[in-house]
C-alpha cells in the first residue's frame, strides 16, 4: 500500500523517463508508453536485435528519445497548474496560502486548490457498526449463527454444548469433545450406575422406500451372511428390532469393507409390500456409502424439490410482536436454520429409480438423535416423557388403541430394574406431549423407586422376556408430513415463557391447549454383547425426535440429573463395551484410513512442536511407526516369514489386508485361544491359506502394571507359537478394563 510519501514521489516523477534496456523481459517495454507509440519500425523488445542495424533504426531511437526528453523537460515536476501559469517574476513565496498575492484571474482556482487540500483525501464511506446492544439482538444473532454454520454444521444443541464443552470440527460438524469441567470419573460413574446423555444428531440417516423384495435384493449385494445377520434377518425385518451390520462394497466381500451401520425397518402395514427402511451411518461413511447404495439400487435420477417448503431448510418463523408493525417488506425476519442448512437448495435430496421403484432420501439432520447410556436410562425417560392425551393426538395421525398400548408398555418400563434387562434392540414408538410443560423448577436426580418396582414385577417380567410387542414399534415419526407438521407447530420459547409467567402458582404444570403431540421412537441399545464379564454394560436407549425439538427435550432431560458426554466419552464407551469404535478401529475401511492419516498428521505436528532434546527418541526405542499402525507392512512381512518357513505354497502377489469378520472363523479361533480344542498345524495352514492378509481385532489384558502407549507394538513371544498360522495384530488402546 503506497504511503503518502510514495504517492507524492510518483506524482513528481511521472514525467521522467525510465531507462530503456533489453535485458529484463518486459521491463523495458513497460517503462514508458512512448516506446510503443513512436518507434518507426515498431519492433518489439526481444532479446535478439534485428540483424542489420540501419540508420533508420538509430534515427527512430533518437527521435523517440528526443520526444521523451521534451516531455520531461517541459512539464515541471510536481507543480500544479495554477502556480506555473504565472511567469517567474510574478510568483511569490506565500502564494500557496495567501491567495491575495495572486492576480484575480487565478485566485478562484487557487482557492479551490487550498480547499481541496484542507479537506484531505477522500475516504470511502464506512458503514457505521452498530452498538453492542443492537448487534446482540435476537434476529441479528440468528443471522450471525446462520452464517457461521456454513462451514461446519451446528447441532441443534450447539449453544448448550458450546458453553460447557471444548468443541472440535469433525466430519464437517462442530461437535463437543470433552467437557470443560473435570468430569472423566463422574462420566464413567454415570455410565456405570446412572445415565449419560449424548447428542448424536450428526449421524446421517438414509431412507429407502420401495417394494420389499427389491430393497432386499439390492441390499444383499452390500452385505454378507458370513458376518452375521443381514438386512433380511427375520427379527429386524418385522420392524420390532434395530439391527446392526457391516457394509461392504457391492460384491467385494471380504475386501472393500465400508463400515458399520444401524438399520430399522418400519413395521408392516397390512396388505402392503411398500416398506420403509432407515439406515443410520456415521458421517465419515456417507461419501462412500451413498454412491454404493445408488449404484446398487440403480437410483440415478435425482428428484429436486423446488417447492417453498423444501426439506433442505425448514423455517422457524420468528414471532416477534414488537417488530410486526415496524418490519418493512425489504427486511425479512431472521430464520433459524433447522435441518441441514449448509446444503444448497438445489442439491438433490432424493433419488428415484425407474426399474426397481426404490427411492433413496437423504435425511441428514432431519431427525434428532439422543443417546442415553446407563442402567437408569429408562427411568430418566419415564420421568421426562409423558404420553400425550387424546385431543393432542389429532394433529398426529396415530391410532388411539395403538397409542393406549404404547402408553401401557411405557408405564411398564418403570418397573424394570435396569435397562440392561430388556432384550437387545427393541423398538418402542410413542407420542408424547411437550416435556417443557412439566419441567421441574429445580434440577434433580432420578432415583429408582423400589416400591414401584416390586409391585409391577409381573408386567415387567413380560417386557424383559419378550421385549416390546411388534405392533408397538409403529410410530408417526416415519411420515415426512407428520414430522414437518410437528416441527412447525412447536411453541417457541418466548410463548411458553409467557404462558408460564401467567400461571398462578409458579412451578406447577403448564397447560396449553391446542398443542400438538410429538411422535418419537425409542430404540434400545444392547451394550456389551461379547465376552464373559460385565455383559450388557453400557446399554441404553436412543431417542429419535423430529427436527426442531432437540432443545425442548434436552433441557428436561438434563434437569433429571444426567451427565452429558462428548465424542471422547463415546470412544470410551466403545472401549469399555469391547467393541471397535468407528472410525478409529476400522483400519480397512476408507473412512478408517482417512481417520488414521489425520491422526498421524496431528501426532506428527505435536511431535515436531517439541524441541529436539525433549522429544521421545523413537529410533532408540526401536519403534517402527509411532504415529500410525502399518498394517499392510505387517501383513506383508508375516506372509514373507511364513513363506520362508516353507509351510505354504507361494501366493500370487501382495494381498491387501482385511479385518476378519466372518463369524464362523472367529468362533473357531476363539475356541482355539481358550484352548478348548487343540490346534493342528494342518488346520492352521489351511486357515492361513484361506484367509490371506487378514487381521483380527483382539483385546489384551495386562497381567501386570503399566499401560501401553498409543500405537505400541505388541511382539510375538516364542510361547504363542500356535498363533503363527493366522497373522494376529493387536489393536492398541484396549488394555484390560
Amino acid at each position: 500500500m503506497p504511503g503518502a510519501k510514495e504517492r507524492m514521489r510518483e506524482k513528481k516523477m511521472k514525467n521522467q523517463p525510465r531507462s530503456v534496456q533489453y535485458s529484463s523481459r518486459g521491463q523495458g517495454s513497460q517503462a514508458s508508453g512512448w516506446v510503443r507509440g513512436h518507434q518507426a519500425e515498431g519492433h518489439r523488445y526481444s532479446q535478439d536485435l534485428p540483424k542489420h542495424i540501419t540508420a533508420s533504426f538509430f534515427a527512430g531511437a533518437r527521435a523517440a528519445e528526443v520526444s521523451v526528453m521534451l516531455k520531461a523537460v517541459s512539464k515541471p515536476t510536481g507543480s500544479c497548474q495554477v502556480f506555473t501559469a504565472l511567469p517567474k517574476h510574478m510568483r511569490r513565496r506565500a502564494m500557496s496560502h495567501n491567495t491575495h498575492r495572486l492576480p484575480l484571474r487565478l485566485r478562484d482556482a487557487a482557492l479551490r486548490l487550498a480547499e481541496r487540500s484542507q479537506r484531505g483525501p477522500e475516504k470511502p464511506p464506512q458503514a457505521k457498526s452498530r452498538s453492542r446492544r443492537a448487534r446482540r439482538r435476537h434476529t441479528h444473532l440468528l443471522l450471525e449463527f446462520n452464517r457461521r454454520q456454513r462451514r461446519s454444521r451446528w447441532l441443534e444443541t450447539h449453544i448448550w454444548h458450546a458453553k460447557r464443552f471444548h468443541m472440535q470440527n469433525s466430519w464437517s460438524y462442530r461437535l463437543p469433545h470433552t467437557p470443560t469441567a473435570k468430569s472423566y470419573r463422574a462420566s464413567y460413574r454415570a455410565m456405570d450406575t446412572h445415565t449419560l446423555l449424548q447428542d448424536l444428531s450428526y449421524f446421517c440417516c438414509l431412507e429407502l422406500q420401495g417394494p420389499e423384495e427389491q430393497i432386499l435384493r439390492a441390499l444383499s449385494q452390500l452385505t454378507s451372511k458370513q458376518t452375521g445377520p443381514t438386512f433380511a434377518a427375520s427379527v429386524c425385518l418385522s420392524g420390532a428390532r434395530v439391527g446392526r451390520l457391516l457394509l461392504y462394497r457391492a460384491g467385494q466381500y471380504p475386501h472393500g469393507a465400508l463400515g458399520p451401520v444401524e438399520f430399522l425397518w418400519r413395521p408392516r402395514a397390512p396388505e402392503c409390500t411398500h416398506r420403509q427402511l432407515w439406515i443410520w451411518i456415521h458421517p465419515a461413511l456417507k461419501q462412500d456409502v451413498l454412491p454404493e447404495l445408488q449404484a446398487v439400487c440403480q437410483c440415478c435420477e435425482s428428484v429436486c424439490e423446488v417447492s417453498a417448503s423444501s426439506s433442505a431448510a425448514a423455517v422457524d418463523e420468528l414471532r416477534n410482536r414488537k417488530r410486526k408493525c415496524t418490519a418493512d417488506a425489504a427486511e425479512l425476519p431472521a430464520k433459524r436454520l433447522l435441518g441441514d442448512g449448509t446444503r444448497a437448495v438445489g442439491d438433490p435430496v432424493r433419488w428415484e429409480s425407474a426399474d426397481t421403484h426404490i427411492t433413496i432420501s437423504d435425511l441428514t439432520m432431519e431427525i434428532v438423535r439422543f443417546r442415553l447410556i446407563g442402567p437408569l436410562a429408562h427411568l430418566v425417560l419415564t420421568d421426562t416423557l409423558h404420553a400425550a392425551n387424546e385431543e393432542a393426538l389429532r394433529g398426529v395421525c396415530v391410532d388411539a388403541d395403538l397409542h393406549q398400548q404404547q402408553r401401557d408398555v411405557f408405564t411398564q418400563l418403570r418397573g424394570v430394574c435396569s435397562t440392561a434387562e430388556l432384550p437387545a434392540g427393541c423398538v418402542l414408538g410413542l407420542t408424547v406431549s411437550d416435556p417443557r410443560l412439566t419441567l421441574p423448577q429445580r434440577r434433580g436426580k432420578t432415583v429408582p423407586d423400589l416400591q414401584h418396582i416390586s409391585t409391577e414385577s409381573s408386567h415387567a417380567r413380560d417386557l424383559t422376556l419378550r421385549g416390546v410387542p411388534a405392533h408397538c414399534s409403529q410410530s408417526a415419526l416415519w411420515d415426512t408430513s407428520v414430522r414437518d407438521h410437528v416441527t412447525d407447530s412447536r411453541l417457541s420459547e418466548q410463548e411458553l415463557n409467557r404462558v408460564r409467567s401467567d400461571v398462578l402458582v409458579p412451578g406447577s404444570a403448564v397447560c396449553v391447549s391446542g398443542v400438538c403431540a410429538v411422535p418419537l421412537l425409542l430404540l434400545h441399545q444392547p451394550g456389551r454383547v461379547c465376552g464373559q464379564e460385565r455383559l450388557r454394560w453400557g446399554s441404553g436407549w436412543d431417542l429419535l425426535l423430529p427436527k426442531g425439538w432437540a432443545m425442548a427435550f434436552w433441557v428436561p432431560l438434563v434437569y433429571r440429573g444426567v451427565r452429558v458426554g462428548g465424542l471422547h466419552m463415546s470412544v470410551k464407551h466403545a472401549q469399555f463395551m469391547a467393541q471397535p469404535h468407528f472410525p478409529h478401529d476400522y483400519p480397512d475401511c476408507p473412512a478408517g484410513e482417512r481417520c488414521q492419516s489425520e491422526q498421524e498428521a496431528e501426532l506428527l505436528e505435536k511431535f515436531k512442536r517439541r524441541p529436539p532434546s525433549k522429544r521421545t527418541n523413537y529410533v532408540k526405542h526401536g519403534c517402527v511407526a509411532p504415529f500410525r499402525c502399518p498394517w499392510q507392512q505387517l501383513v506383508d512381512e508375516w506372509a514373507e516369514l511364513v513363506e520362508l518357513g516353507g509351510e505354504t505354497q507361494s501366493r500370487a502377489g501382495p494381498v491387501q489386508f482385511t479385518v476378519l469378520r466372518s463369524v464362523s472363523v472367529l468362533r473357531q479361533l476363539s475356541a482355539w485361544c481358550s484352548s478348548a480344542s487343540a490346534v493342528t498345524p494342518a488346520a492352521a495352514a489351511a486357515l492361513h491359506q484361506e484367509q490371506q492378509g487378514a487381521l483380527l481385532w483382539v483385546r489384551l489384558r495386562l497381567l501386570g502394571k503399566g499401560r501401553p502407549e498409543l500405537h505400541a507394538a505388541v511382539c510375538d513371544s516364542s510361547v504363542c507359537v500356535r498363533v503363527r498360522a493366522a497373522p494376529l495384530s493387536s489393536s492398541d488402546t484396549n488394555a484390560g478394563v
Binding site: V20, I53, T54, A55, A59, A61, E65, M69, V73, T84
Partner: protein, 169 residues
C-alpha cells in the same frame, strides 16, 4: 541546510558491433565504472561509490547508447577521468568492447535532458546527410518530423524553454 550538489555526466556508449547492444544494463555499467575508478584511483576512488548520493547510473538507453551518470560535485572530475579506462562491458560472461564518450556535464538532470534534445537533433540532421538510400532518407525525415513538433498532448505548456525548433527538412 547544506545542499548536496551533484554533477550529471552525459555519456555516449560507442560500440564496434551494434548487434551486441542488448548487453547494456545499468548494473553492468555501474560495475564497470566502479572497477575502472578503483583501478585508476585506488581506495579513495572506491570509497566514492559508498557515500550517500554517490555514483549512480540515472538513465540508460540501450538503443542509442546514452548513459547519464550522477556523482558528487566534489568527485566528478575523478569519475570523468576514469571513463576512458573502461574498455569493455561484461554481462553474464559475454564481453563487449566499447568506450565511453562524455558529451556533457550538467548540474541538474533537466539541463542534461535539454542538452540531449539538442544533441539528438543535431545527430539526426547529420544522419540525414549521411544517408545512402532513399528509404533510409525517408525514415530519417519522418523521425525528425516526429520529434520536432510538439506532440505533448493535454495541457499546453506555458513558457516552456524548449519549443520545437522548426527546421526545414
Amino acid at each position: 541546510m547544506v545542499r548536496f550538489k551533484s554533477r550529471y555526466l552525459l555519456c555516449e556508449l560507442c560500440v564496434s558491433e551494434p548487434s551486441s547492444l542488448h548487453l547494456f544494463e545499468d548494473k553492468v555499467v555501474y560495475q564497470a565504472l566502479r572497477g575502472a575508478v578503483n583501478r585508476a584511483h585506488g581506495d579513495y576512488g572506491a570509497a566514492i561509490f559508498n557515500i550517500t548520493l554517490g555514483v549512480l547510473v540515472k538513465y540508460l538507453n540501450a538503443h542509442t547508447g546514452v548513459v547519464l551518470i550522477r556523482c558528487r560535485k566534489a568527485h566528478y572530475r575523478l569519475v570523468w577521468s576514469s571513463l576512458p579506462f573502461i574498455t569493455f562491458l561484461e554481462n553474464r560472461g559475454q564481453k563487449v568492447r566499447c568506450f565511453f564518450n562524455c558529451i556533457h556535464v550538467g548540474g541538474t538532470i533537466r539541463t542534461s535532458q535539454k542538452f540531449l534534445i539538442k544533441y539528438n537533433r543535431q545527430q539526426l540532421q547529420r544522419m540525414l546527410l549521411d544517408c545512402k538510400t532513399d528509404a533510409e532518407k525517408q525514415d530519417v525525415r519522418k523521425a525528425i518530423l516526429s520529434c520536432s513538433l510538439n506532440l505533448i498532448k493535454g495541457e499546453e505548456t506555458d513558457g516552456s524553454d524548449d519549443d520545437g525548433d522548426e527546421e526545414d527538412t
